[in-house]
Amino acid sequence: MSESEAVHAEVETLFALVRERYGGRLDAEQLAGVRTAIVGIVEAACALRAVRLTNADEPGQPFAPHRADP
């Protein structure tokens, strides 16, 4: 995977967060694997952000109010 500078910066910020939360239970090889996975997540996010949507484009899943049967 190639990283642009913008992606790189975001990856490093998010990797720092994940390392802060879980680094104590991971070895160097596992941390490298986590970083690679974050690169994929950020690249996917960039692809999503690149698509313009309108205010009317709602999430494609319904929410239904709940009312228990009497």
């Binding site: 994929g40 997540i41 996917a44 999503l48 698509v51 484009d57 709602e58 494609g60």
Partner: protein
């Protein structure tokens, strides 16, 4: 009982049972013996449910002898992916070592419905741990070992319904229930030379099934023929108050045989390996005898990224306790022990963007499908991975799968059927994907294809 019942389609077994030429008890004994004897060869089985199977088979035999015939699954053995809850002390392991002794005190709705249809549960079948939701990269990602392909024992049976695929292909059960979040029915069906049906999201209740991704998970059958998949779907489909995502739409399988209908097929071009491409081209020649085939396109959207982001975010929430507690360290595949931690990097607004784009994707897919009976494509872009190789996966971004991303992201039904053999003598497959709720139409197309080919009548020589 003669071995020729092995690899008999459900429909043929049902005829024998109904006419009392076949005994459900003897049938169960035959498949229980094969599960116990051959199951370990393929790492296909977690638990052989002998006592429950014989109890159900005896009940079926008594009922049928008394003239009470429930339908085409009455007395027919089957296996269930081990993410469906079963009562009676039968473990439900989710394929994962941390859960290998866990027992539920109720049956999943799909298990209950199959019992009501008279089917005989003979085994809980192996699967990739947690249905592959933790990021595995290799076949050896289950506490039962890698799923072994009956067509070549150095190849994978597929994921994540690996045991469901290898058990049906090896003649250990006539049909099996699998689940698909992204590829987990079509992949093992394709790898093992079977028919596999991914129903429309909401067609089959997931109550009692392990949740991987609430808005992507589906349950469906793997069987020898598309026709058998229709018979099984009718038994497990339907509204279930325990699963609010189920739709209030009745499904009655229309399996009356070839209708003479002229189908309209669309093809989305996507990259695949040479033998897969060649077999697909030959399949298109057959499909042109059944109707028209035209190339279609979808708008340029990041389909894989949409579905992948939804899957990662929901799977990580579904297994929050296991991940946060460090319990994933007990999983089998080394990468499953840490990859999920990375998903804390998914931002809420990106997950919501994926959900909003899913709506666009669903509308665009339906717009294309509205002019067709089915989109067709290779079931998988490659043959099965080697057991010691890396599994290429669109879920991790190491392969492309637009059909899978759209089909699963938009909740559309698809059926895969075998269409030849590729590298190392491994099966390849053809998939038909339809509009939401059009299972009967894609099954009719798949049946028509299977009426003109005999790939589904071939079985692994060693099994």
């Amino acid at each position: 009982m003669a071995e020729d019942v092995v690899w008999s389609p459900v429909r043929r077994l049902a005829e024998g049972i109904r006419s009392r030429r076949l005994s459900p008890v003897a049938l169960a004994e035959t498949f229980l013996d094969r599960l116990e004897r051959l199951g370990p060869r393929y790492n296909a089985v977690v638990t052989v449910t002998r006592a429950r199977a014989l109890e159900q088979a005896r009940r079926a035999e008594t009922e049928i002898a008394a003239g009470s015939y429930r339908g085409p699954l009455h007395g027919v053995p089957y296996g269930a992916k081990d993410l469906l809850a079963t009562s009676g002390g039968i473990p439900t392991t989710w394929g994962a070592s941390p859960f290998k002794d866990r027992v539920f005190d109720f049956d999943a709705t799909a298990i209950r419905k199959l019992e009501e249809a008279g089917a005989v549960l003979c085994a809980k079948l192996a699967m990739v741990e947690l249905a592959g939701g933790m990021g595995y990269r290799q076949p050896n990602a289950a506490f039962t070992g890698p799923g072994i392909n009956p067509w070549s024992r150095d190849a994978w049976s597929g994921g994540s319904s690996s045991g469901s695929g290898s058990a049906v292909a090896a003649g250990l059960v006539p049909f099996a229930i699998g689940s698909e979040t992204w590829g987990s029915i079509l992949s093992p069906a394709g790898n093992c030379g079977l028919a596999g049906l991914r129903p429309t999201y909401g067609r089959v209740s997931r109550h009692g099934a392990m949740a991987l991704c609430w808005t992507l998970d589906k349950l469906g059958p793997l069987a020898l023929t598309a026709d058998d998949c229709g018979l099984v779907l009718e038994a497990i489909a339907g509204r279930d108050p325990a699963d609010p995502t189920t739709a209030d739409r009745r499904f009655r399988y229309d399996g009356a045989g070839p209708t003479g209908r002229r189908f309209r097929f669309g093809v989305l071009r996507d990259g695949c390996e040479e033998a897969v491409r060649e077999n697909f081209a030959r399949s298109l020649e057959v499909l042109r005898e059944l109707g028209s085939v035209e190339e279609v396109t979808l708008p340029d959207l990041p389909y894989d990224d949409i579905t992948r982001t939804i899957l990662f975010a929901e799977a990580t929430s579904a297994f929050e306790d296991l991940i946060e507690s460090g319990g994933i360290a007990g999983l089998t595949a080394p990468e499953d022990r840490y990859t999920a931690y990375a998903r804390d990097a998914i931002l809420a607004k990106d997950y919501l963007k994926a959900l909003r784009l899913r709506g666009v994707m669903a509308r665009e897919a339906d717009r294309v499908l509205a002019t067709l009976d089915a989109l067709v494509a290779p079931g998988r872009t490659t043959v099965a991975a080697m057991l010691d190789g890396e599994v290429r996966s669109a879920i991790r971004g190491t392969a492309r799968d637009v059909m899978g991303a759209v089909g699963n992201g938009a909740g559309l039904p698809a059926v895969a059927v075998p269409n030849g053999f590729g590298a190392r003598g491994l099966p390849t497959s053809l998939q038909f994907m339809g509009r939401a709720w059009e299972e009967n139409l894609i099954l009719a197309a798949a049946r028509a294809y299977q009426s003109r080919t005999d790939w589904h009548a071939r079985h692994p020589p060693e099994a």
